[in-house]
């Protein structure tokens, strides 16, 4: 456990030593700030009408959740760039030997690297979340909805990272890892589009269940369903197990 933390700290530090991390943070922040502000001005424009409505929808529905929705899509593009180098680069520089020769298990190595990426993504989500939280200066927001959306995006992004770590363990070329990760994420994102057109309702159900987006959407509506949380946890667990097995295979006879 302690080893996992050491590796995680190193991973996080290494990320901030490269300009890539800073650039990604800046670009994501900028784009989301733009979307946030345009959403907010929309809200201000319609505020009189909204006030007149019976069951008024508030600022959280109109400004906050759509922003996290956009964030989820942007992060799908960005996470592969962050995860691509975690294992592949160490393979390429042959520095993996350092970890393999130290008294650490493969699971600790993978977990450390994964948590390093997740910690970075949490920093990013934290910075994004400052914007909706700033609305609290002006008035109340729907805390329940906000927290459930936040949980949704954290789980979603953590799943992205698990796929990314796995693909990074497959190759020595960071770009290959990034493209592979992106392909899988996009496929899992849109898998239910086809589902909607299949006549067989069982198949539709399965494809919809597999879609990463569906589970996020319900959390973003404020519906906390433990099956959605379980989906993400299983997803993360599977890909991390695959990564551990992949690293083990480096050592073993095949």
């Amino acid at each position: 456990m302690k080893m996992t933390l050491h590796i995680m700290r190193r991973e996080l530090r290494a990320m901030f030593l490269s300009p890539l991390a800073w650039t990604i943070l800046a670009v994501v922040q900028f784009i989301l700030a733009y979307l946030f502000l345009s959403q907010l001005s929309e809200f201000i424009r319609f505020q009189p009408q909204l006030r007149a409505m019976q069951q008024a929808i508030g600022v959280t529905d109109i400004v906050v959740t759509p922003m996290y929705g956009s964030a989820s899509f942007i992060l799908m593009l960005v996470v592969p760039l962050i995860t691509m180098r975690v294992i592949s680069e160490e393979r390429r520089n042959k520095s993996m030997t350092l970890l393999f020769s130290a008294p650490i298990s493969m699971t600790e190595i993978v977990m450390g690297k994964y948590l390093g990426v997740v910690a970075f993504l949490l920093i990013m989500i934290g910075m994004i979340s400052i914007m909706p939280l700033s609305l609290m200066l002006a008035g109340p927001i729907d805390t329940g909805l906000f927290l459930s959306t936040l949980l949704g995006i954290i789980l979603l992004v953590a799943s992205f990272a698990a796929v990314g770590v796995y693909f990074s363990s497959l190759t020595v070329q960071p770009t290959v890892a990034a493209i592979g990760t992106f392909g899988v994420l996009l496929l899992l994102w849109i898998i239910d589009w086809a589902g909607a057109r299949v006549a067989d309702p069982n198949a539709t159900g399965l494809l919809t269940y597999l879609s990463m987006l569906r589970h996020f959407e319900s959390l973003a509506k404020g519906v906390f369903n433990s099956s959605d949380v379980a989906y993400y946890l299983l997803f993360i667990g599977s890909f991390l197990t695959l990564s551990v097995r992949r690293l083990d295979a480096d050592r073993l006879q095949h």
């Binding site: 008294p103 050592r251 073993l252």
Partner: protein, 316 residues
């Protein structure tokens, strides 16, 4: 097994497809011993090193470090190993200090002892002055030293160094060799190289590996004996007939080389150098060169492999 047996390797093999990179290699390493692993390129040295350090699982056989099986209890066994692979495993965007602190941590050094361990490793490898520099900006020699510092930071019982002097300048090579000797006093060291003098200077015990097989394993003195010259290189300004040279006591045969040089073959115990000089002075041959020829590693390989002496497992 005595208490000071640090490494026990029993019949390890590793196959890549049908090719055996290493086959049936066995040996032991005692405390206070420097073991040289010699072999030409591609002989299987690095593969053997990787198996000893747990980076590669052997296809067959077992490795025990301080009596702990490397496959059954990798964590306990690896804590006793320090490994410098062919290419030092460095994080190039870290400073030397940051890197060594990380190495100390993942090797399980207690928090309050990390500082002292890093300091000691830096002193031993002569890195104190570059502590705060980025590894990427250091010269090859310094990077190599950082690699060694990493391997000894947790004072492991066994230090495994894979070609540690490659790419260093002569002064650095000397320093590193001195360091290896020093390490050999209280650790066990396994050193792989293809440079023969390096082994002669630093090792107590030599093993030669060729095509994945251990072909020679003995103490260094015995290797030196094998290397003793059996020929002299002779240069004469006014050379006589080669039959005259052949008549000198102890000369077995004479080979005429270009540019007034001769190669004189003789018995290993009985060098005719003295006799040749005597004759040369007496007859005015104009002696300008006389030197014993040392065997190269290649010749020793030819010798050893042609003598079909595949070493039995426990020659150590």
């Amino acid at each position: 097994m005595s208490k000071d047996t640090l490494v026990q390797v029993e019949h390890i093999s590793r196959y890549y497809g049908p090719n055996a990179a290493v086959s049936q290699v066995s040996f032991e390493l005692q405390r206070g011993e420097v073991l040289g692993f010699l072999g030409p390129n591609g002989a299987g040295k690095s593969t053997a090193m990787q198996m000893i350090t747990g980076n590669l699982a052997p296809s067959a056989g077992r490795v025990r470090i301080c009596g702990i099986d490397l496959l059954d209890q990798p964590r306990a066994a690896k804590a006793e190993i320090g490994y410098l692979p062919e290419q030092p495993p460095l994080y190039r965007d870290f400073t030397v200090d940051e890197y060594l602190i990380f190495c100390a941590r993942i090797n399980g050094i207690a928090r309050n002892k990390i500082k002292a361990a890093v300091q000691r490793a830096k002193e031993r490898c002569g890195l104190t002055e570059v502590s705060r520099r980025l590894i990427n900006n250091l010269s090859k020699g310094f990077q190599q030293r950082v690699g060694i510092a990493q391997a000894i930071i947790h004072s492991p019982a066994v230090v495994v160094l894979d070609e540690p002097t490659v790419g260093l300048d002569p002064i650095q090579i000397r320093e590193i060799r001195r360091l290896i000797r020093e390490l050999g006093n209280d650790h066990g060291v396994i050193l792989s190289t293809h440079i023969l003098p390096e082994v002669q200077m630093t090792c107590d015990h030599v093993q030669i590996i060729n095509k994945g097989k251990l072909v020679f394993s003995d103490r260094i003195e015995n290797l030196n004996q094998r290397m003793q010259s059996v020929s002299l290189l002779l240069g004469l300004r006014q050379p006589p007939e080669s039959s005259e040279l052949g008549a000198i006591d102890g000369v077995k045969s004479v080979e005429i080389l270009e540019d007034r040089h001769f190669r004189i073959f003789h018995d290993s115990e009985n060098s005719p150098a003295e006799g040749i000089v005597e004759q040369a002075v007496k007859n005015g041959w104009g002696l300008f060169e006389l030197s014993p020829e040392r065997k190269t590693l290649e010749q020793i390989f030819v010798d050893i492999t042609s003598n079909e002496t595949t070493v039995e497992e426990d020659a150590a």
